[in-house]
Amino acid sequence: MTKHYFEFSCPVKMVAGFRALEHISFELDTRGASRPLIVSDKGVVGAGLVDTVLAAIATGGGQVGPIFDDVPPDSSMEAVRAGAARYLDSGCDAIIAVGGGSVMDTAKALNILATEGGVDLRQFAGYNNLKRPLKPFIAIPTTAGTGSEVTAISVIKDREEGVKTFYCSPFLLPDVAVLDPRMTLKLPPMITAATAMDALTHAVEAYTCLARNPMSDAYAEAAVRRISQWLVPVLLRPDEAEGRLALAEAAAMAGIAFSNSPVGLVHALAHTIGAMYGVHHGAANSIFLPFVLEFNLPGSRQEIGALLLSLAGPEVYAATPASRRAEEAIDRIMALKDKAHELCGLPRTLAETGSVPREDLPRIARTALDDGTVVMNPVDVTYEGALRVLERAW
């Protein structure tokens, strides 16, 4: 009897494409909400993106509550509490998050306090500790990488306890994710490349790690296809709206894929150098991705080879001998990194980040072994194995 088994879930309604923002007032109305709190950060507000959202809601006959834009780059407990207080004091009945990963994380955690009434957030930390649906929540990402608009997790820095606290529950998922190309048109090339490579890593790891399943595979393949097709054109022509939308869709699809098939060693290493040296998460993922795939060849050669179809198209796939497809897929990712480096300076190696000392590689390898994502890697990760990848990535 087969022991095949998987779980898959994505209840988030996707509202994506041309004039997508103009659908928000309808989405609020159908959820009985008329006074949403806008959660954002000062950079996003300063770039005029919140104004674009407000205008779209107003022209649709909708209304909004106050704007809370005190979200720091690393989401914090203080910001969550302040945002929740604003929500409760202002009689709001829904949340609209406009921003990147930190804004999304803050909005998710804020929604817990908004629903549960200002209690201690920590009691809901961990997995599945929420027992009822939260307030209506609409997510509008302004970067195309993290996939936070479709993930059920929020990470909040707790300065009092000196830790980063995880909240993971299906109730944290937004009700609606709005992907509108206007939200990412002004992203600088470096951030565009780093976030797209972040999304590519989510998709590739979801496709090659242990929890892969037929549904996550479909999302991962579609995400890889879009990113390999559109990243370079968007870096060459940043106002390419079709490409911007394709990257935003890819980030959401990659988010759905890795929410249902968690990531592996690339993320373990990226988390570690992010925490130790502040290397941008997307850039770190981009650096490690091809080297981890090389490391994983003994355990997932077939899956890596199959990705060549999405990375390079049917002609290249058909012309490449089956025994060479995995190596060719890795070469294609290397080539994408080289192109991104040429066009916007995205670092290709740890040395190019200028912030990771070579003598620290053993410490990084040892620390990365304690990252939970290592469990899902298709090949067992030892200290020696992690160090070998780090040396290659140097």
Binding site: F6, G126, A211, L369, D371, T382
Partner: protein, 190 residues
Amino acid sequence: MNDAPVSTRARLVVLEKRGPPFAFQRFYVRFMLWLIGRLLQAASVVDDEIRREVGNLPAGFTFSMRVRSGSAALTLTKHGDRLRAVPAAAVPHPVLSFDFKHIAHAFLVLSFQESTPRALANDRLSVDGEYPSAMKMLRALNRMQALVLPRFVAVRALKACPRISLAEKIGLASRIYGRLIVELLKRPAA
């Protein structure tokens, strides 16, 4: 139960007469969790690698591997760089727990039909607690299994079998099982 429709009540009576469901699995899982707890306790005395992992766990660390229904559990507490198996009731809220959703899922893993990483990937097992500690416990569990299980069983239980020479494996396994017997003779099992 009295509110259930007649057909449902009749069905429940039939099921009750059949005896407890998963009776064999329940017995086997209880025994294996008991055994794993004691083997980990012994291995944390005998093996340097496991002792190092345990030593790096936070002070006051407690661990439980259990079935969500409450039908079986192993519970360990940290003392210095060693683990000690204790009754589940002694630690109602462990710092870290690995929870099987169902006795059938625990049986799959503990009868070596499914590895622990595969069980995690298949959402049969959930982790509640800090991941750095979870990873240390997983490495300790893996190392212990690699030492005490015959290789043909260990390859089914683990993602990869570490390279351990036959002499080292036999030596350490003998000491772990010897320690287990000594512990059992010293005090009645909890």
